[in-house]
């Protein structure tokens, strides 16, 4: 999973996809995760970083993280390695 190259992400959590013209807002944790994805961190790294800082258990995080990634994929913010090749 990669954040698409041209996606603009501001510190306020405002995300803009210039290819589609869509814009979105995310909360601080969402922004934190997106930034880690952008930095090329793996899912395991992201899980570890979040669990270290926030009071949540592993299964709750994994479920929410999975939902979040699916949503990012649906709104075309992230792409898989396969999609990137195409």
């Amino acid at each position: 999973m990669h954040i698409k190259k041209n996606i603009a992400i501001s510190d306020s959590g405002f995300i803009f996809n210039p290819s589609t013209g869509d814009s979105f807002s995310t909360n601080p944790i969402g922004l934190e995760i997106i930034k880690m994805l952008k930095d090329g961190k793996s899912r395991e790294d992201i899980k570890e970083a979040i669990l270290k800082v926030y009071a949540t258990d592993q299964s709750t995080f994994e479920k929410d993280f999975y939902d979040f990634l699916i949503m990012l994929q649906n709104i075309k913010i992230i792409e898989t390695d396969e999609q990137k090749k195409n």
Binding site: N6, A8, F16, P18, S19, T20, G21
Partner: protein, 349 residues
């Protein structure tokens, strides 16, 4: 830098809920770094807001409707030219273009008025009724379409189309129909308003994206800015939009300009499917009403059109700002009755 004085006549002053491109084109010209234009507005109706925007339009004249014929518009232009010494004329309505294309050579040779319009072949080829064939020739995907001339043809549409489908007027307007009864209703409304034929087009699911383009008539693209509507009025017009970073769309537009050798401004309307396929829905043979967004993005296409009309070299734009938005607004002009009286009785303001 000295901005060259030039007299430019512009139509399409109907800056209403379904706006003509005249006022945005004039705003672009007013911001030109090359030209200092005196704007002569050409209007068809006495309530076109541009008539009363005196900081935008310097002087206005009523002109006969396109249906009055070529000689009527020519006679009127001859009169206006005797006063205003028009250098360049920019027509902004689809419906008036046929007459102006026919007049382009004559107006230049007799009066010295220049235009920069598509050729009659280009104008006819991209017509809604011919668009499917146009797509085949120029290798761009176009949803299947067919002309109909009577409601009696509606039942037979199921052999060629699946519902929903789009019912389109000859010049403007389109409505989606989900069953034959809706096709009949739209057919009656559109044929009464715009005449026959009515065009039936296969509906394509996806996101509408548009491009404003300027071609130099030799196959070169002078400018191209893609946009997505963010807010659409009940009439299907953009009330807000945003410029896109869509290289594929710009590349399709460039290929079309190269293939057609398009001369002048145009708007390409596409549907982008979820599989990132682009289907051309329509070609408008003039700048769109949102052309001022292109100026905001760094491509003053109306200014370049003036240079092209003058036969001067024009450098193609290489870039534009992505993620730039436009938002329309309505504004009440307070107008003295004497002004309305003047344009209504004398045909000048």
């Amino acid at each position: 830098m000295n901005r060259r004085k030039i007299n430019v006549a512009v139509s399409g002053l109907n800056n209403i809920d379904s706006p003509g491109p005249g006022i945005p084109v004039i705003r672009a010209l007013r911001e030109s770094k090359l030209f200092n234009p005196r704007i002569i507005g050409l209007s068809y109706e006495t309530l076109e807001p541009g008539l009363y925007m005196h900081d935008i339009v310097d002087k206005s004249y009523q002109v006969p409707f396109p249906s009055a014929g070529i000689s009527a518009i020519k006679a009127r232009l001859r009169y206006i030219h005797s006063i205003e010494k028009i250098d360049i004329l920019i027509p902004n309505f689809d419906a008036e273009l046929f007459n102006f294309i026919k007049l382009e050579k004559e107006l230049y040779e007799e009066l010295g008025i220049r235009m920069f319009l598509p050729t009659l072949e280009q104008f006819e080829e991209r017509h809604k009724a011919n668009l499917f064939e146009f797509g085949k020739i120029h290798k761009v995907k176009v949803p299947y379409s067919r002309m109909i001339f009577s409601v009696a043809e509606v039942p037979s549409l199921v052999t060629d189309f699946t519902y929903p489908l789009v019912v389109k007027g000859k010049y403007y307007d389109a409505s989606v129909a989900y069953n034959p009864e809706q096709v009949e209703t739209h057919f009656n409304r559109l044929s009464a308003k715009w005449g026959l034929p009515v065009i039936i087009q296969q509906y394509v699911f996806g996101q509408e994206v548009n491009v404003t383009v300027l071609g130099d008539g030799k196959g070169n693209t002078i400018g191209a800015v893609p946009m997505r509507k963010q807010y659409i009025t009940e009439k299907g017009k953009a009330w807000a939009g945003i410029s896109l970073d869509d290289k594929k769309l710009v590349s399709i537009a460039r290929k079309l300009i190269k293939s057609t050798k398009w001369r002048g401004g145009m708007e390409l309307e596409f549907i982008k499917t979820s599989e990132d396929e682009y289907f051309l829905l329509e070609i408008n043979p003039r700048f769109p009403a949102w052309v001022y967004l292109a100026v905001g993005c760094g491509q003053n296409m109306p200014e370049s059109l003036l240079s092209l009309a003058l036969g001067e070299p024009v450098k193609p734009f290489k870039n534009y700002e992505k993620g730039k938005m436009f938002i329309r607004y309505s504004y009440d002009l307070i107008v003295n009755l004497s002004e309305f009286e003047k344009i209504s009785t004398l045909g000048e303001l």
